[in-house]
Structure formats: structure tokens, C-alpha cells
């Protein structure tokens, strides 16, 4: 199928052709009948100039509109977009008119990324904390062990104090 750019040019050309065909020389001469009788050649050349000038102006205007609106590039890019969507049967999404709603979907991919990031760092943190917790528990056991060892040693020394007292007693005696 012809691209939008070609279609646009073809439609404008057709418009011009038909407009000129409608405003034919016969019609023109008929309207300016008296002058035509007086100067037929002149009438013809004035008509020809009128037509070519009108066509030139209209073509120039179209060119200007195309440049101003960057239409050529927009038509090509729209052709591509339409081509890509040709498999799409369903009517596509359109702005709902409620900006908050429409901007929501634009946020989703980034929120999903953010969620994935948070899940990842949470998992890492939980794993890290699990290891720390193990270390803390091990440390607590170690401290309990040390306290028990100290307790044993203390009791062992305290156990000596009975003999020590007896000894002191004998010395006193």
C-alpha cells in the first residue's frame, strides 16, 4: 500500500487537477465573454498564467505545511508504527482522560524493577542476618561455656577453701 506521504501528495494533486478541470478555459472564457471576444489569445495566456500560478501557490503552501509540521518524517514513522501493529486485531489502548490512571501503567515497569531490587536486597539481608544470628548464638554458647569453665574453676578453688579452713584451724590450734 502506498505510504501516507505518497497518499497525501496524490490526494493534493488530484484535488488540484479536479479544481483546474472544473475551472476550465471554456468556463473562464465564458465568464469573461466580452474580453474573450476582444482578445482571445490574451485571455488564453491570462488563464494559463492564472492556473499555473494557482497550482504553484498551492504546491508551495503544501510544501510549507509539510516542512512546518515535519509531515514527511511523521508520515513515514506513522507508516512504520501502523505496519508493526498490523497483527493487532483488538482496538488498542487509548488515554482514559484520567491522568492519574494513565500514568500508573507508565510507572509499573519501574515499580516492578524496584520490587525485584527490594526482594533481592531483603533476601541478601535475611541471609546475612541468618549468618549473624548463627554467630550470635555461637557467641552466646561460647560465653556460656566460658562462664561455666570459670564457674568450675571458681568452685574448684572455693572447694579448696574447706581444706584451707581446716588447715588454718590446725595452725590456729
Amino acid at each position: 500500500a502506498p505510504g501516507r506521504g505518497q497518499l497525501f501528495a496524490a490526494v493534493v494533486d488530484t484535488f488540484l487537477e479536479k479544481l483546474v478541470a472544473a475551472g476550465s478555459y471554456q468556463r473562464f472564457a465564458n465568464c469573461y465573454r466580452d474580453f474573450y471576444r476582444l482578445q482571445p489569445e490574451l485571455t488564453r495566456s491570462i488563464y494559463d498564467q492564472f492556473v499555473s500560478q494557482l497550482q504553484a501557490s498551492i504546491k508551495e503552501e503544501i510544501q510549507e505545511v509539510k516542512e512546518e509540521g515535519n509531515l514527511e518524517a511523521l508520515f513515514n514513522s506513522l507508516d512504520k508504527i501502523v505496519e508493526e501493529a498490523k497483527e493487532q486485531e483488538e482496538p488498542a489502548w487509548r488515554p482514559s482522560g484520567i491522568p492519574e490512571e494513565d500514568v500508573r501503567s507508565a510507572m509499573v515497569p519501574y515499580l516492578l524493577k524496584h520490587r525485584a531490587y527490594l526482594r533481592k536486597v531483603l533476601k541478601e539481608k535475611e541471609e546475612e542476618n541468618r549468618k549473624l544470628a548463627e554467630a550470635v548464638l555461637a557467641g552466646r554458647d561460647r560465653i556460656a561455656e566460658l562462664q561455666r569453665l570459670i564457674q568450675d574453676r571458681k568452685q574448684a578453688w572455693q572447694a579448696i577453701s574447706k581444706e584451707q579452713r581446716e588447715l588454718v584451724l590446725t595452725f590456729k590450734e
Binding site: 501516507r4 497518499l7 490526494v11 493534493v12 484535488f15 479544481l19 472544473a22 475551472g23 465568464c31 469573461y32 465573454r33 466580452d34 474580453f35 476582444l38 482578445q39 490574451l42 491570462i46 488563464y47 492564472f50 500560478q53 498551492i58 503552501e61 503544501i62 509540521g69 511523521l74 508520515f75 506513522l78 501502523v82 493487532q88 486485531e89 483488538e90 488498542a92 489502548w93 488515554p95 501503567s105 510507572m107 515499580l111 516492578l112 524496584h114 527490594l118 531483603l122 546475612e128 542476618n129 549473624l132 554467630a135 550470635v136 557467641g139 561460647r142 566460658l146 562462664q147 569453665l149 570459670i150 574453676r153 574448684a156 579448696i160 581444706e163 584451707q164 581446716e166 588447715l167 590446725t170
Partner: protein, 200 residues
């Protein structure tokens, strides 16, 4: 009801109708201008034919007649052109989504789904903060444990040091040596008593 062709305006940056209006007005201006030029050229040429008995009024009548005819056809033709251009060129088919809106095709989230996603993110953030402070607390306890362990190990070393001194002086087991000493001192006391008794 006017179809604002908003989606087209989003793509083109102008509304197609405005574009067509702009073209229509320009074309129409040219047509009028050209007619005025034609008329002024003819009037100027007529200056060269004073006997022609063609008045400016007549020429104006002719101009209006031709222009009226052209204008009618112009409007009809322009209407057709506008219809074709608005339908086939300056329009975005219903099934087409513009690139900047692709996200709506990939993530058609409802309000509820979006809210659920945000809630989940908030919850993850809370949990992460909790884990982070838990981690701080664990690290703090580990630091504290290091100090405590060092203290306790120092005490154990102190006991070791004590026992090493004892060992160094031949008493590896105090309990026994006290008992042995007690025994000996009792014996000595016994002997002392004997001696005292005998000496009396």
C-alpha cells in the same frame, strides 16, 4: 459531536482538523488573490482598448461569476480531499498504539493491581528496614560478645596463671596439698603434744 482526534494530535503535535483548516484557508486565499490578479491584468489590458466599451463593473461581474463557480467546486473538492486525508493519512487506526504508550499494552494494571504492587513494595521496604535494624542489633551483640569473651578469657587466663604458679612451686593440686598439709600439721600437733607431755 466533534471528534477531537486527540490521539492523532498526540502523535502529530497538531490536530488534523486544524491542519486541514490551515490548508483550506491558504488555498482559498490563493484563489481569491489569483482572481484579483486576473481582474487587475484584464483591466490594465482594457486601458489599451478605450473603444472596447467593456466597463470595470462588467469585468467585476465576470470575476465574481467565475470565482463563485470555482469556490463551489473548490469547497466540494476540498471536502473530499479533507475526508480522505483525515481517514487515511492524518489518522491513527484503532488498533495502533503509539510508542510512548506501549507500556499500557505490556502492563495493563488495574487500580487494585497497582495498589497491591505499591503495598507489596511498602511491605518489602518495612521488612528490609526491620532486617537492617535486626542486623545492626546482631552486629552490636557480636561486638559486645567479643568484649565479654575477651574479659572471660582473661579471667580464665588468670586462673591458668594461678595454676601455673602453683605448678611451678610443686603443688599441682591444692586440694590434695592442703589435705596433705592439714594431715601433716595434725601429725605435727600430735608430735608436739607428745613432746610437751614427755617434757612435763
Amino acid at each position: 459531536s466533534v471528534n477531537p482526534m486527540a490521539y492523532e494530535a498526540q502523535f502529530f503535535g497538531f490536530t488534523p482538523q486544524t491542519c486541514m483548516l490551515r490548508v483550506y484557508i491558504a488555498f482559498q486565499d490563493y484563489l481569491f488573490e489569483m482572481m484579483l490578479v486576473v481582474e487587475s491584468v484584464i483591466l490594465k489590458k482594457l486601458d489599451g482598448f478605450p473603444n472596447a466599451k467593456i466597463s470595470a463593473f462588467q469585468i467585476r461581474k465576470s470575476t465574481e461569476k467565475f470565482l463563485l463557480f470555482m469556490k463551489e467546486h473548490f469547497d466540494k473538492l476540498f471536502g473530499k480531499m479533507e475526508e480522505v486525508l483525515l481517514q487515511l493519512v492524518l489518522n491513527i487506526p484503532k488498533n495502533v498504539l503509539l510508542p510512548e504508550d506501549k507500556v499500557h499494552e505490556q502492563y495493563p494494571y488495574t487500580k487494585e493491581q497497582f495498589q497491591a504492587l505499591q503495598d507489596e513494595i511498602d511491605q518489602l521496604q518495612q521488612r528490609y528496614k526491620a532486617e537492617a535494624s535486626a542486623g545492626q542489633a546482631l552486629l552490636a551483640e557480636i561486638e559486645e560478645q567479643k568484649t565479654v569473651q575477651a574479659e572471660l578469657e582473661k579471667i580464665l587466663q588468670w586462673f591458668d596463671g594461678l595454676e601455673n604458679i602453683c605448678r611451678a612451686h610443686g603443688t599441682s593440686n591444692f586440694k590434695e596439698s592442703f589435705a596433705f598439709l592439714t594431715q601433716n600439721s595434725k601429725k605435727l600437733q600430735g608430735v608436739l603434744k607428745d613432746v610437751e607431755k614427755k617434757s612435763k
